[in-house]
């Protein structure tokens, strides 16, 4: 479904991604793990068009995303839950969710999607009129995820959904990710919490200072000595 071939990304003189390639197949949950500053967010931003590559290719079902304007990429069936949630703090929960369906014109379809999201996240339904900025961290993460689901995306990019959450909420978020995966959504998950990310994923990639250093089935990587030492604290 998603195929990234040999991309290089620069921030001015900083060479942030050095020939990264990765693939996410239909229905898969793929984790991208790596230390802080490795370039994980940069990978997701490049897929979403917030950043542009100098070389390489990003194909979504064969379509080259580099030729698609950033604000049109969501129309290709790709939704992105950004790092730090980026919810609209001065809008209500429901307004935030409706913004997620900005590209949809059919009111009935929007309402159906809204009901579906509320079904996934009953806690949001209890807070439809609350301002986004007044939600707790976990609720904000649910809102950002729900907002991304408002277009029924084929593929979901998630950037550090567990960041800054209490252990109970981390478990809750990961179980939501598993549910979404089970419901057939393809997911590319970026996490610093490598243990959890490997536990839920089908396959995984390890990113080190802008390069993919290892890849394989999540189970195999979780057993790998180097991964255990560097990322699993073993």
């Amino acid at each position: 479904m998603l195929e990234i071939k040999d991309i290089n990304v620069y921030y001015g003189a900083i060479h942030a991604l050095k020939g990264v390639s990765l693939t996410v197949n239909d229905g898969e949950l793929v984790s991208l793990v790596g230390a802080n500053g490795a370039g994980k967010t940069t990978v997701l931003h490049t897929i979403s068009g917030l950043l542009r590559t100098t070389t390489g290719e990003i194909l979504l079902d064969g379509i080259n995303l580099q030729k698609v304007p950033a604000s049109s990429i969501i129309r290709m069936g790709l939704a992105h839950v950004p790092e730090g949630r980026h919810i609209f703090s001065r809008m209500s929960v429901e307004e935030n969710l409706r913004m997620g369906a900005y590209i949809i014109n059919d009111a009935k379809q929007i309402n159906d999607n809204l009901e579906r999201v509320y079904h996934h996240f009953p806690r949001l339904k209890e807070r439809t009129r609350q301002l986004g900025g007044t939600l707790s961290g976990g609720e904000q993460q649910m809102l950002a995820t729900g907002r991304a689901l408002m277009t029924n995306p084929k593929i979901l990019l998630m950037d550090e959904p567990s960041m800054g959450l209490s252990p109970i909420l981390v478990n809750e978020i990961f179980s939501i990710i598993q549910q979404l995966h089970a419901s057939g959504i393809t997911i590319l998950l970026v996490e610093q919490n490598a243990k959890k990310a490997l536990a839920v994923a089908d396959r995984a990639y390890v990113l080190e200072t802008g390069k993919i250093s290892m890849s394989g089935s999540a189970g195999t990587l979780a057993e790998d000595d180097r991964v255990r030492k560097a990322y699993l604290g073993a």
């Binding site: 979403s48 068009g49 917030l50 304007p69 950033a70 604000s71 049109s72 969501i74 129309r75 939704a79 992105h80 950004p82 980026h86 919810i87 609209f88 703090s89 001065r90 809008m91 307004e95 409706r98 913004m99 997620g100 900005y102 590209i103 907002r147 991304a148």
Partner: protein, 298 residues
């Protein structure tokens, strides 16, 4: 009592003009965090457009208000061009300081360009005839209907604008872009187009303000927007820049302070009081009366 009432209405009338201009500053600031110094000059553009198009409308036997619509369109186009030609390229490359300097440059450019046009020149033009020609008689009673109309139109415009930002798709997109540009892109919002549209609306409001200003002071000159713009900017800051109801509130506060000072203290003290109020409010509430602390999010 009659002095009080009259002063009140003068203040509200003045305030509605400030409020409309302040909206232009606040909308643009809200969306790109830029103080659009050229905004005051859009009033001048609107004023001259009406002066020059009114005879044309009369000749074509079109209603006079058609020249107001035309002025709104011209101001909107000038505002959009300013964004496209001057601000956007600078925003891509430069810092917020270079954007600010560009805004001052656009302001000076518009004023000098106007002076260079032979039909405009440096001398003020009297705008009286467009109102008498249009049959809007300025009756000299305490509550003349120009005052009522000025306040009424401005309140209607503000209510419509507020509902527009709250309830419509484009209005919501504007609020999103003003809060978080990258998240807006992820929602599928065309950020650049939304910014251009914001300029169009804010600048169009300047034309309406020009109409009301000319109904009060029937004179048009190339720097007419400078002081009016400055006071409206103060109004926007006072109410909380970036916040739409704040601009309306700030506009009315400044209009009332000005008219009551003029009436009960002295007209030469009016501006002093306006700035005094600004300083006091900013000390007590740095973000303005209705201002929320809007951190610069990228």
């Amino acid at each position: 009592m009659s002095t009080f009432l009259q002063t009140l209405f003068v203040g509200l009338r003045l305030g509605s003009i400030y409020a409309l201009v302040a909206l232009g500053y606040t909308m643009v600031y809200g969306i790109i965090r830029l103080i659009n110094f050229a905004h005051g000059d859009f009033i001048m553009v609107g004023g001259y457009t009406m002066i020059f198009t009114t005879p044309v409308m009369i000749a074509l036997e079109l209603p006079i208000w058609a020249s107001v619509v035309f002025a709104i369109l011209v101001c909107a186009i000038v505002g959009m061009s300013t964004e496209l030609i001057a601000y956007r390229p600078v925003r891509k490359k430069g810092t917020s300081m270079s954007a600010l300097i560009t805004a001052i440059a656009v302001s000076l450019f518009l004023e000098n360009l106007a002076q260079a046009i032979p039909q405009i020149g440096p001398n003020p033009k009297v705008a009286n005839q467009i109102f008498s020609a249009g049959g809007i008689r300025i009756v000299d009673v305490t509550l003349d209907w120009t005052t009522m109309l000025t306040i009424g139109i401005s309140v209607v415009v503000m209510v419509v604008l507020y509902q527009f930002t709250q309830k419509t798709r484009i209005g919501r997109a504007m609020r999103c872009v003003s809060e978080d540009k990258s998240a807006s892109i992820l929602m599928g919002i065309n950020v650049n187009r939304t910014i251009v549209l914001t300029f169009a609306i804010g600048s169009g409001l300047a034309a309406i303000a020009a109409l009301m200003y000319m109904a009060q002071y029937p004179k048009v000159y190339t720097t007419m927007g400078a002081l009016l713009g400055l006071k409206a900017f103060v109004a926007a800051v006072l109410g909380g820049i970036g916040v739409i109801p704040g601009a309306m509130l700030g506009g009315f506060v400044i209009g009332l302070v000005e008219s009551f000072t003029t009436s009960y203290v002295s007209s030469s003290m009016a501006d002093t009081f306006v700035f005094l109020i600004l300083i006091i409010v900013l000390i007590l509430k740095p973000a303005g009366i209705l201002g929320k602390n809007m951190g610069e999010k990228v």
